[in-house]
């Protein structure tokens, strides 16, 4: 049964448990993302959303459970961060992290899909195709005018976009995006939703963690609600918004 579920999935989590010094951050989390799917994940603070991403990207080793990629063929719990990134899983952090003392352009250059070995990078020359790809990405994330500026001089929202651009530069199969619209204006939030939909339409799978309900509604995709380290509810936004258990968690406190 579980094999069948895993086989058709891009990302498959089954009964994942993680604890930190006895505190159970994930208590048997199961989640399946299909190829080409976009999924929104919501949940109150401390629900375990970031911890889930840590388990997928090799930052945290689950104590128990299965985390696998590409139809259950690749066990992610055995691999390190760099290997997982090379397999095609890109991640945007909750707190935007870009390379502050590099220019916007160089941030994208470093993220571009290419040989990651030290000798390859030592003698690497920027190719025409790469330069064109950087131009294209700059246009997508609306930072063309700031390409030569240091990333530390960008606004919070622009850093978020740059990080999404870096994700795209890696050409991943799956994007994990943690709170992409935190600190953005309403207009920027809607633009980000449009950008993520566009990325998804181009064939990439996307998992978005977000608190902002308007944003999640704008995405218009299946929603998973996490609570205390497990799945509380799953379905369309209207379905979960009317689920009494979700209302209880979000409003009844």
């Amino acid at each position: 049964m579980t094999e069948a579920l895993a086989a058709n999935s891009l990302l498959y989590l089954d009964d994942v448990k993680v604890s930190f010094d006895g505190f159970k951050a994930l208590k048997g989390l199961s989640l399946t993302i299909e190829p080409g799917e976009m999924r929104a994940i919501i949940g109150p603070n401390g629900a375990g959303k970031t911890t889930m991403m840590d388990c997928i990207t090799g930052k945290t080793r689950p104590d128990e459970g299965e985390v696998s990629f590409e139809g259950g063929t690749i066990d992610l719990t055995k691999l390190d961060e760099a290997t997982i990134a090379e397999l095609g899983i890109g991640r945007k952090f909750q707190k935007p992290t870009v390379f502050e003392s590099h220019t916007v352009e160089d941030n994208l250059y470093l993220a571009l899909k290419s040989d990651r070995g030290p000798l390859a990078t030592l003698f690497h020359r920027l190719s025409g195709a790469e330069a064109a790809r950087i131009d294209e990405l700059l246009a997508t994330i609306k930072l063309t005018g700031r390409r030569g500026d240091l990333a530390k001089n960008l606004s919070h929202g622009q850093k978020q976009w740059l990080e999404i651009g870096m994700l795209l530069a890696q050409e991943p199969k799956l994007l994990l995006v943690d709170e992409p619209v935190a600190g953005m204006t309403d207009a920027e939030t809607m633009e980000t939703a449009a950008l993520l939909r566009e990325i998804n339409a181009s064939g990439k799978s996307v998992v978005v963690v977000e608190h902002d309900m308007a944003f999640v509604r704008e995405l218009g995709v299946k929603v998973t609600v996490l609570h205390e380290g497990g799945v509380l509810s799953e379905g369309s936004i209207d379905h979960v918004a009317n689920d009494p258990r979700v209302i209880e968690v979000y409003l009844g406190r």
Partner: protein, 377 residues
């Protein structure tokens, strides 16, 4: 490929520095050998050797800046790699003494005869060949750095903990080289050198040549380091320095990059040590003392961390100051050095070169903005 790589290192600042270094490399020996002694332009031999020593320190500082300034690895044990290169050169110089030692033994250095050793330990084999010794000058520090780095970086030891274990490394080597049974001359180290590739190490010409080579090493080391930091690999190093885990999630193997740059840096430091030893005429375990490595960190901080040229400037300035200071108030040098470090950290956090280039950049951007008419409201 290599040519493009090196050309990449030739930015404006590096070009100017190279020109200055090469001019010094030629002018100082010329002023020593060609200008008659009475002339005010004559540079005495002791100064040639002193400047040659500064040049080797400048290379050590460069090596340190490469790992600390660009990759955030604060090594407090870089003196160890310098000393290892120095010992490899010292072993070659010992073997060149031949029968001219006090005991006149054709093969064994004096200290081994003194210890009643009957034959040369295996690890001294080959050091009578200059080429072999030169290979060891880079390979031994490189290998130690690689093995150390491999374990430390793979276990993700960073920050203060890494600095502490680099201190432990140099301290452990200090204790080891102090032991007579290690076969490196114990406490006294290696000294009483006679010739290097057939030339008398004391001769004026040899000293001038060693000075020239030391300057060439500064130039070569600067060019290599600049080429590395300007390459894509150099950008990865800075990325690691700024956001290590981000770099990992983008797919770079951080430990491999760190081990790579740490090893290259150690090799450069080893070469510096090898040129230091024939100029000062001795290598002993005190070169491993943790304080030496910390001094090197201060040179880099004073000159400007992460600027390469600053490392050279810092090493030469601080050591010049040290020479002057120890002449006037010898017992206060350490206080002066400590005070300098505090002052630089507080008032010149980017060091001499960093502050200078910041000031120039500000002036450059300020001028056109001031000249252009104010934008209409």
């Amino acid at each position: 490929m290599i040519r493009h790589f090196l050309e990449n290192g030739l930015d404006a600042r590096v070009r100017i520095a190279l020109a200055v270094i090469l001019a010094v490399a030629i002018l100082v020996p010329a002023a020593n050998l060609l200008v008659p002694e009475g002339s005010p332009f004559h540079v005495p031999t002791y100064l040639v050797t002193l400047f040659g020593k500064y040049a080797t320190y400048a290379v050590l500082a460069l090596a340190l800046d490469l790992v600390w300034g660009y990759c955030g690895i604060l090594s407090l044990g870089h003196g160890a790699f310098f000393a290892l290169g120095g010992y490899a050169m010292g072993m070659y110089l010992m073997r060149q003494i031949g029968t001219r030692g006090v005991y006149g033994h054709p093969i064994l250095p004096d200290f081994m005869v003194f210890l009643n050793w009957k034959e040369l330990p295996w690890y001294w084999y080959g050091f009578d060949h200059f080429a072999f010794a030169m290979l060891m000058v880079v390979l031994v520090p490189g290998l130690v750095a690689f093995v150390f780095g491999w374990f430390a970086f793979r276990s993700r030891v960073t920050g203060v903990y890494l600095s502490i274990i680099t201190q432990a490394l140099t301290y452990a080597l200090l204790l080891a080289f102090f032991r007579n049974d290690m076969g490196f001359g114990g406490n006294n180290g290696l000294t009483d050198f006679k010739d290097i590739v057939g030339f008398n190490v004391q001769a004026r010409g040899t000293r001038a040549a060693l000075f020239f080579l030391s300057c060439l090493l500064v130039a070569g080391g600067l060019l290599l380091s600049a080429a590395i930091v300007n390459s894509k690999l150099g950008k990865v190093l800075v990325a690691i320095r700024d956001a290590e885990s981000r770099t990992r999630f983008i797919g770079y193997r951080v430990a491999t990059y760190k081990a790579f740059v740490f090893t290259v840096s150690a090799m450069l430091a080893g070469l510096a040590g090898a040129l230091y030893v024939p100029q000062v005429g001795i290598i002993n375990p005190s070169e491993f003392s943790p304080a030496n490595s910390i001094e090197a960190v201060i040179w880099v901080a004073v000159g400007g961390r992460g600027t390469l040229v600053g490392a050279v400037v810092g090493a030469v300035t601080v050591n010049w100051g040290k020479t002057w200071f120890t002449g006037v108030l010898p017992s206060f040098w350490l206080f002066a050095l400590g005070g300098l470090f505090v002052l630089v950290t507080l008032f010149l956090p980017k060091g001499i070169v960093g502050t200078w280039s910041e000031w120039r950049a500000k002036r450059k951007t300020a001028t056109p903005a001031d000249a252009s008419p104010a934008p209409a409201e």
